[in-house]
Amino acid sequence: MSARLACVLLAASALAACEREERHFSAEVQNATGGATAVRRSSNQPGMALGGLVKLADRNISMYDDNAYAIGEGKRLFRWYNCSGCHANGGGGIGPALMDSQWTYGSDPHSLFDTIMQGRPNGMPSFGGHIPEDQVWKIVAYVRSMGGAVRSDVAPSRADSLYPGKPENFRSPQPAIQQGVSQSEQPLSPLR
């Protein structure tokens, strides 16, 4: 009897561990982040500029760190939205590298989310209002995987295109060195 119970418990725990495989197609709760709002910190915006405030993260947890599908989506969106145009495949170029331990505006999920939404001075566009928040969280999870911050069984494996480096699931975690984490130290760029 206890063996049967153990089997049931084991099966239940195995099923509970399937978050890695879950695929949510419909709109998620993350689509309407209830966080605070803040001004944009960049006049660069994709498409036609939006006025008004942008939403900030309402929690400091990367929602999709355990979901391989969502991180794969983040990887796709990283290219689609041309993050790779400046950050390359994480090695940086025009923008800073995302796979090392140097973080200008903080490496925690909250900071990454805010950086994408608000933009940052000297180039990083403000994507708030231009990308659904749900997708921003997916990109956050993917950016974290670039530096080895998510589990290797969840991180994306070999890319579809040519890439000479190690795939994300082969990277070891880079302990973040926080630099200039305080956003208030940064001067506000003039807004249009």
């Binding site: 197609f25 709109a27 689509n31 498409g47 036609m48 231009h130 659904p132 997708q135 579809d160």
Partner: protein, 322 residues
């Protein structure tokens, strides 16, 4: 004008005609083989010894070596080889016939397969006269069409059953397919290589038109998007360029220049949306924009929660893009 045929056996062009001819030969020979096998089976069943036979079975020949069925086996092998040779020859001649389509004065198109829709680029003429559309191929009647096939993510296959056979679109490679439509009409096409969740909803249409209609359509497609007339459509244009639509979609002549999704410059001139998933009218368009996942789960377009007024403005703008 037919309402949209999707029938491999109804050939509306020379290429599909060759394929249908080959299919008929295969059908005939396979039917003969099938009937012969069934006949042999019935014969064997009839000749088999029966357990309730009145007389005991004759066991006198049990220890005598069985006579070798040399003649019948030789005949069966010969017939099989002849049948296979006929099929082989038919395949070779069909291939040659398919390759012999005259390509003078051809329309050149590049089709790129994506999960789960098609980019169609008309590459004839100088670069300024090339243009892009999606999920709808227009061709002039009687002129050959040469299609370069590419894929951006996984393997797809282009199939227009009433006009031509399939050809795969393979990432990193290019293939060519040539066909000709001999009668005006709408021909349905479909991805024929399983490519993910929504493979079944990866359709497109080929519109074969007279030369004048094709030239008119081509001129229309070359023009940038029309400036919307009403205040609501104007607001829709502003919205489209500023919110998430512009991240993936392009409307030529505006700031929306995304390359990840279908080009919407002349969306209202197309018959369907979502790669043949829904008819292109205001109600379906609104429902699709609000939540594409409801119609095509897994599609890369996210749900777009927005107010009813905003949605109506965007739908009104898109409806004006003739």
């Amino acid at each position: 004008m037919n309402p949209g045929v999707h029938d491999m056996l109804a050939a509306w062009g020379p290429q599909a005609g060759h394929v249908a001819w080959l299919w008929n030969i295969f059908l005939a020979i396979c039917t003969v083989v099938f009937l012969a096998v069934l006949a042999a089976l019935v014969l064997a069943l009839r000749r088999a010894p029966r357990i309730d036979a009145p007389a005991p079975p004759d066991l006198s020949t049990v220890n005598v070596p069985e006579p070798r069925l040399r003649r019948s086996v030789t005949m069966a092998v010969a017939i099989t080889i002849v049948g296979l040779l006929v099929l082989l020859a038919a395949s070779v001649f069909t291939d040659r016939a398919l390759a012999r389509l005259p390509l003078r004065d051809a329309v050149n198109i590049r089709v790129t397969g994506h999960q789960w829709w098609w980019t169609v680029t008309y590459v004839d003429g100088p670069v300024s006269e090339t243009f892009e559309t999606a999920n709808e191929i227009h061709v002039p009647v009687g002129r050959p069409v040469v299609v370069q096939l590419h894929a951006s993510d996984v393997i797809h296959s282009l199939w227009i059953p009433s006009l031509t056979g399939k050809r795969d679109l393979i990432p990193g490679r290019s293939a060519t397919l040539a066909f000709r439509a001999d009668q005006p009409g709408i021909y349905r096409g479909q991805c024929a290589e399983f490519c993910g969740f929504q493979h079944a909803f990866m359709a497109f249409e080929v519109h074969a038109e007279t030369a004048e209609n094709f030239a008119r359509w081509r001129q229309l497609q070359l023009a940038p998007a029309a400036e919307p007339a009403g205040a609501q459509a104007q607001r829709g244009k502003q919205l489209f360029q500023s919110i998430q639509c512009a991240m993936c979609h392009a409307i030529q002549g505006t700031l929306a220049q995304g390359k990840a999704g279908p080009d919407l410059t002349h969306l209202a001139s197309r018959r369907t949306i979502g790669a043949g998933t829904l008819p292109n009218d205001a109600a379906h368009l609104a429902s699709w924009i609000a939540d594409p996942q409801r119609h095509k789960p897994g599609v890369n377009m996210p749900a777009n929660p927005m107010s009813g007024a905003d949605l109506a403005a965007i739908v009104s703008y898109l409806g004006s893009l003739k």
